[in-house]
């Protein structure tokens, strides 16, 4: 049976010290620009003590409370995606020799051992989705692999949900389930800690803990149950991929034309979106060049442009691509939905479009829906 430990609040700094001692750069939640972001930190004072997040469609505000807890916030805009899938990075460089020959040199993957404190169940689920995309294919991505290998993950069980959270509906939270090294559950006077890997156990051994009491474990369970109960958003019953497949020509998509700004915020904050643009730079003398990639969004018309024609030229078509990929075709590609229920796309959408509401609307068959054309045949 798994042993749970208790780390008194006063001893929390020893976790940071143990991670630094083990050679990790420590990254954790900090408040910047009125949001929780993951950034390097060195002291406990830099954690968002007593800060909670109020989230709603198109709404994200931090509020200070009297609580002494460090992890009462639910999610920031970032997840940990930027730590493994870099927003912009160079893949190779080339040099033209005086005799006209070209030399291509791979940019070696670089990564420092990095410990992230405060990773949520939804973030872990998203990471495992990205592992499938970037690692489990014929061409594992060396840059992603190197950063991933160097990550030490200190997960935190969510004992409070934001109003936008719906990880219970996707089955990804609020309890952290797999893919972490240490897990913390925060109580008023300290943390219940469990190790889930050898590296995690080594760090745990370096901490001065006491066995967690039955009462402490019950408090954690109650907190997790409370976090689940706080979630009100749900996904449609039945197979969402099948529903979306049947709804390709649903008239509801057209309503997005008046709401969606195609700004791409949802794809930027989504912890599983992986689309990329490859970019090339040339030195002023034209002799050296570099080739890199950066995050891209399927809301950008250029995303689908071929021979000057935009395949998804209309806004509703781009929104449809995003939603049907995330909740539908993703399942065929990766064996699960691309949504982990973090709710970021709802909070960070400037006009408050709520994916759960859109899915609901699409799951209701329209009365005046045109009969579906036989597959592969032109509609008249």
């Amino acid at each position: 049976m798994k042993v749970h430990h208790f780390l008194a609040r006063a001893r929390f700094p020893s976790l940071l010290e143990a991670l630094v001692e083990a050679g990790y750069e420590v990254i954790g939640p900090r408040v910047r620009d009125h949001a929780i972001v993951f950034e390097p930190l060195t002291t406990v004072e830099q954690f968002p003590r007593g800060i909670i997040d109020e989230q709603a469609p198109g709404h994200y505000r931090l509020r200070r409370t009297e609580s002494g807890r460090l992890f009462d916030w639910a999610t920031g805009p970032q997840a940990i995606k930027p730590l493994t899938f870099a927003p912009r990075e160079t893949l190779w460089r080339s040099e033209r020799q005086p005799d006209g020959r070209l030399v291509f040199r791979e940019q070696p993957p670089e990564a420092q051992p990095t410990a992230v404190i405060g990773v949520r169940a939804c973030d872990l689920a998203a990471l495992s989705v990205h592992d499938r995309h970037f690692l489990h294919d014929a061409h594992p991505d060396p840059h992603y692999r190197e950063r991933r290998r160097n990550l030490f993950l200190v997960a935190v069980n969510c004992l409070r949900s934001a109003a936008t959270c719906f990880c219970t509906a996707t089955g990804d939270g609020p309890r952290v389930q797999h893919g972490f090294d240490l897990a913390l559950s925060e109580l008023d006077d300290g943390f219940v800690v469990e190790a889930h890997s050898q590296q995690g156990q080594a760090i745990l051994n370096a901490l001065e803990t006491t066995p967690a009491t039955h009462d402490q474990l019950e408090q954690v369970e109650a907190g997790l149950e409370r976090a689940s109960d706080q979630q009100t958003r749900r996904l449609p019953e039945g197979s969402v991929p099948e529903m979306l497949q049947a709804a390709v020509e649903h008239p509801h998509w057209q309503s997005l034309n008046d709401r969606c700004l195609t700004c791409g915020n949802c794809t930027a904050v989504c912890p599983t979106c992986f689309c990329q643009t490859h970019v090339d730079d040339l030195s002023l003398d034209g002799q050296t060049a570099s080739h890199g990639r950066q995050w891209a969004s399927c809301f950008d018309p250029d995303h689908s442009t071929i021979h000057g024609t935009v395949i998804r030229a209309e806004r509703p078509q781009r929104y449809r691509q995003w939603l049907t990929h995330k909740f539908g075709t993703w399942v065929e590609q990766y064996g699960r939905s691309g949504c982990v229920g973090c709710g970021r796309c709802i909070a960070w959408c400037p006009v408050g479009i709520d994916v759960t509401e859109e899915l609901d609307a699409l799951s209701i068959a329209p009365d005046d829906a045109p009969s579906r054309a036989p597959d592969g045949e032109e509609r008249s």
Partner: protein, 277 residues
């Protein structure tokens, strides 16, 4: 190990202007080991790279048994292809590949072939036809159907004449608009499908061209009882990585670069009938 996204240096060993806006490049990897290890199948593509400008996916049009060089026929459509057109013999560029799943040339053996091309100068289908004719005995009857917008758009006229000379080969040419000297048909490619002589129960239909034409051909082939899994389509989408990572070429659940560019109609039917998918 070098990452899959890093090109190798290649040299232009031959070039030819096909039309004012189309040209062919013969390439060879400068590292003999890379060239010796390079294998591809019909319908696959390479990424051609001009450092500092970018990469473009281009179909391979040489014969897979030709091991000394790799041919590409390229249309000048954007800045990279226009600059590729400036290359001369001896010039260097980046090359990586091959990528994707090509035409099912083995699965098609022993069957009648119907190769339908729309649009002008669809080089991949021309090379597929040459491939079949070099292995004539392995395939049944061959029907080549080529549609163009205007009669002036038909390039490689001499090849069509040469193909007709082969036994059991029928060539049908049609233009949406023909001029006075256009000796062949006018109208859509589908006009031939009711009368061409092939065995619908034992055939392979290969389609390359605009998606609107594909839909029309599929409809006509279904009418002749050709099952969807015997109809193959070569698709085009925006691609940056060619290895199923950048996400740009998605078509339903498929990554065109990795799962295609050649698909069976059965795989794509749910997506072909909708605009903007």
């Amino acid at each position: 190990m070098t990452g899959a996204l890093v090109p190798f240096e290649a040299e232009v060993v031959g070039r030819k202007d096909e039309t004012p806006d189309m040209f062919s490049l013969q390439l060879r990897f400068t590292d003999p080991e890379v060239q010796a290890a390079y294998r591809f199948s019909m319908g696959q593509f390479n990424m051609l790279c001009l450092p500092g400008m970018g990469e473009v996916p281009i179909s391979i049009v040489s014969d897979p048994d030709e091991r000394e060089m790799i041919d590409h026929t390229i249309r000048k459509l954007g800045s990279i292809t226009r600059n590729l057109g400036q290359l001369r013999v001896g010039d260097r560029l980046g090359l990586r590949g091959p990528y994707g799943r090509g035409w099912p040339t083995e699965a098609a053996e022993g069957t009648d072939l119907v190769i339908v091309t729309g649009g002008l100068g669809c080089a991949p289908s021309v090379s597929l036809i040459e491939y079949v004719l070099h292995r004539r005995g392995r395939y049944g009857r061959l029907h080549i159907i080529q549609g163009v917008k205007h009669s002036n758009d038909l390039i490689w006229r001499d090849r069509y004449d040469a193909w007709r000379q082969h036994p059991d080969v029928e060539v049908y040419l049609t233009a949406d608009t023909g001029d006075a000297l256009w000796p062949w048909h006018v109208g859509p490619v589908t006009q031939f499908f009711e009368r061409i002589d092939f065995d619908p129960g034992r055939c392979s239909v290969f389609i390359c061209g605009p998606e609107g034409m594909m839909r029309a051909v599929i409809k006509a082939m279904r009418k002749r009882q050709v099952p969807d899994e015997r109809i193959w389509l070569s698709m085009e989408r925006n691609m940056h990585c060619a290895i199923g990572s950048c996400g740009r070429c998605q078509l339903g659940p498929k990554f065109v670069c990795r799962d295609g560019p050649v698909f069976t109609c059965r795989e794509l039917a749910p997506y072909l009938s909708h605009r903007g998918v």
